[in-house]
Chain length 94, copies 10
C-alpha cells in the first residue's frame, strides 16, 4: 500500500554542529536501510529546499507512523502524508 | 530530469456526458502513450479526490509544459509542478 | 486500518430538486450499508455545515478510494483523507 | 454532546529531557483517566505528526475547555475544536 | 451554553428577485423568533459584508445545528461555529 | 460603537513564572475595570485556546487602540479587530 | 474617525453590457458625491486589479456600513475594512 | 523602473470559441507591440499553467496600470504586481 | 508616484529595553523627517496591532526600497508594498 | 532551461555581526560569479523585503539544486522554485 510523504526539515541554527552531523548521518543510514527493505520506495529532493518527497510501500498506516516517528530527524521535520491508490490510467507493467 | 506534478481535475457538472466521456478516454490514451515512452514515469491517484500525483522524466521544462498544455483535460485542471533533484540518501541501484 | 475523512458537500443551487433528492437518498442508503458492514465506523455532522467527519476501517487505501469515488454525492464533494494510527495513550479496552 | 478536537504538540527542542518525560507521562495518565470516565471517547494518532484527533463526550463547552486547559501539554499545543451533531445517515445501533 | 457563529451570505446574482426577497424576509422572521426565545443572544452586522457575527445560547450542539440547518438562507451561507466558555476575567454581574 | 476583537495570547515558555503571574493578574484587573466602565461589553474564552473573543463599546477607533495597546499582555497577543454595525434583523429591546 | 477599506470588484462576465455600464456610472457618481462631502477621503486604484484602496472619514461604523452596503457595485464586491488610529509618529500639520 | 507581474488566465469554458480565439490573438498582438517598445521586458510561461511571469519597464505605476487594464484578456486574469529594485549583488554589465 | 505600504513590527521580547527605546526613537525621527519632505505622505496605526498603513510618494521603486531598507526598525518588520494608480472616480481637487 | 527563483532571507537577529557580514559578502561573491558564468541570468530586489526574485539558466534541476543548496545564505533562506517555459507570445529577438 502506497503513501506519498513530504518531509520539510528545519534544524535550529544554534544546534551543536557535531550533533547535527550525527543526526544527518543516522538519518541517511536509516533511509538506506528502509530503501534496502523496499519500504522506502522513492526518495527525491525538492529543488531549493531541505525537503524531500517520498513514496512508502507499507502494510498499514500504523507501520508508516512507526517508521516516520522513529526517524532521527523526526523532531525537526514537518511531515505531510497523502494516501495513494492505483490510478485507472496506470499502464500495467507487461 | 524529474518533475513532480499534481493535477486536480474539476470538470463542470453541466458538461455534456458524451463530451466528458470522450475527454476522459482521450486523456487515458494520452497517459498510456506517455507512460509507454517512459516520459510519464509514475502515476498515482490521490485517495478521495479526482486528482493524481505524477512524476515526469523529461529533457526540459519546455517539453514538460508542452505535454501538460496538450493534455485533453488541461482546461479543467489545476496543475502544480515541483522540480526534483537526486537525494543524497538515495540508494544507488546495484 | 483507520482513515479520518472529512466530506464537504456543495450541491449546485440550480440542480433539479428531484435529482437532488435522489442523490441524497442514494447517498444515505450507501452510508447505511457501509456502516452495516463495519467499514464506515463513525459518521458525525459538523455543526453549521453540509459536511461530515467520518472514520473508515478498511484493508487498504485502494479500498477506501473505491468507496469514496463511488459515493453518489462524490461529484459534489471536497474530501480530505488523513491516515490514522494507534495512539500510545489509547486505553486498551479490557 | 460530542466535540471533535485536534491537538498539535510542539515541545521546544531545548526543553530539559526530564521535564519533557514528566510532561508526557502526566499527559498519558490524564488521557487514560479521561478515557476511563468515558469523557475522552476516541483518541487516534495522525500518521507522521506529533498530533492526535480525538472526540470528547461532555455536558458543556465549559467542561471541555476546563479539560483541555488543564492538560499537562496544553502550553505546548495548538488545539482546534469542532462541535459535532448527530448525522441523519447515522445507523441507529440496534 | 454559548456558541460564536459567523455567517457569510452569498446569494447568486441571477436568482429571481422575488425569491430573494422571500428568503430574506423568512430569514428575518426566523431570526426575530429565535431572539425572542433567547436562543439567538447576539446578532451584529460585519461592516462592509453581507455577513453577521452572532452568539447562540443552546442546550446542545445538536440543537444549534438544527437551528442553523433550517435557516432559510442556509443553502447560501458559509457558517463557522466556535464554541465559547466562561472567561476567568469575566465580571460577575452583581 | 461596537468592535469585535479576538485576542490570541502566546506568552513565551521561558518567561519568568513570577513575571507571567504578574502580567496575568494585571491583565485581569484591567479587564475587570474596563467591564465595570461598560467599555469591555462581552468577554468569552475560545474553547481549547489561550484566546478570547470580546466586544468593545467605544466612542472611536482611537479609543479602542489606546485600550488594546496598553493591555499588560499586549506584547504577547495577536489581535484582530472587526468593526460591527447594527443588524437589520436585530430585535429591538422593548 | 478613519477606516481603511479595500474593495475588490468582480462583475460576472455574462452580465448585460448596458447593465454593467449603468452600475459603473452610478458607482462613480456615488463616489464623487461622497468625496465631495469629505466622507470618502482617499481613493486609489490598485495597479493591475479591478480593486481600490480607500480611506473613509465617518462618525461611526454604522455610518460606514450604510455607505458601503448601498454602493451600486456592493453585490459584486469583496470588501475588507480595517479601523485606523492616529499614529504616534504622525507629523502634526503646522 | 521595473515591476514583476504574474498573470493567471481563466477564460470560462462556455465562452464562444471564436470570441476566445479573437481575444487570444488580440492579446498576442498587444504583447508583441509592448515588447517591441521595450515596455514588456520579459515574458515567460509558468510550466503547467495558463499563466505567465513578466517584467515590465515603465516610467510610473500609472503607466503600468493603464497597460494591464487595457490588455484584451484583462477581464479573465488575476494579476499580481511586485515592484522591483536594483539588487546590490547585481553584476554591472561591462 | 504612490505606493501603499503596510509595516508589521515584531521586536523580540528579550531585546535590551534601552536598545528597543533607541530604535523606536530613531524610527520616529526618520518618519518625521520623511513626512517633512513629503515622501511619507500618509501614516496611520492599525487598531490593535504594532503595525501601520502608509502611503509613500516617490520617484521610483528604487527610491522607496532605499527608504524602507534603511528604516531603523527594518530588521524587525514584515513589509508589504502595493503600487497605486490614479482611480478614474477620483474627484479632481478644484 | 529557465527557472524562476524567489529567495526570502531571514538571518536571526542574535547572530554575531561579524559572522553576518561574512555570510553576506560570501553570498555576494557567489552571486557575481554565477552571473559571470551566465547561470544566474536575472537578479532583482523585492521592494521592502530582504528577498530577491531571480531567473536561473541551467542544464538540469539537479544543477539548480546544487547551486542553491551551496549558497552561503541557504540555511537562512526560504526558496521557491517555479519552472519556466517559452511563452508563445514571446517576441523572437531579430
Amino acid at each position: 500500500m502506497l503513501f506519498h510523504v513530504r518531509m520539510d526539515v528545519a534544524i535550529p541554527h544554534q544546534i551543536d554542529p557535531a550533533e547535527r552531523a550525527g543526526l544527518v548521518t543516522a538519518e541517511r543510514e536509516r533511509a538506506l536501510a528502509l530503501q534496502e527493505s523496499g519500504t522506502w520506495l522513492h526518495l527525491w529532493r525538492i529543488v531549493g529546499k531541505h525537503s524531500n518527497i517520498s513514496v512508502f510501500d507499507v502494510r498499514s498506516s500504523d507501520e508508516l507512523h512507526e517508521i516516520l516517528w522513529t526517524l532521527p530527524l523526526f523532531p525537526f521535520m514537518t511531515i505531510d502524508v497523502t494516501p495513494l491508490a492505483a490510478h485507472p490510467s496506470r499502464r500495467k507493467s507487461t
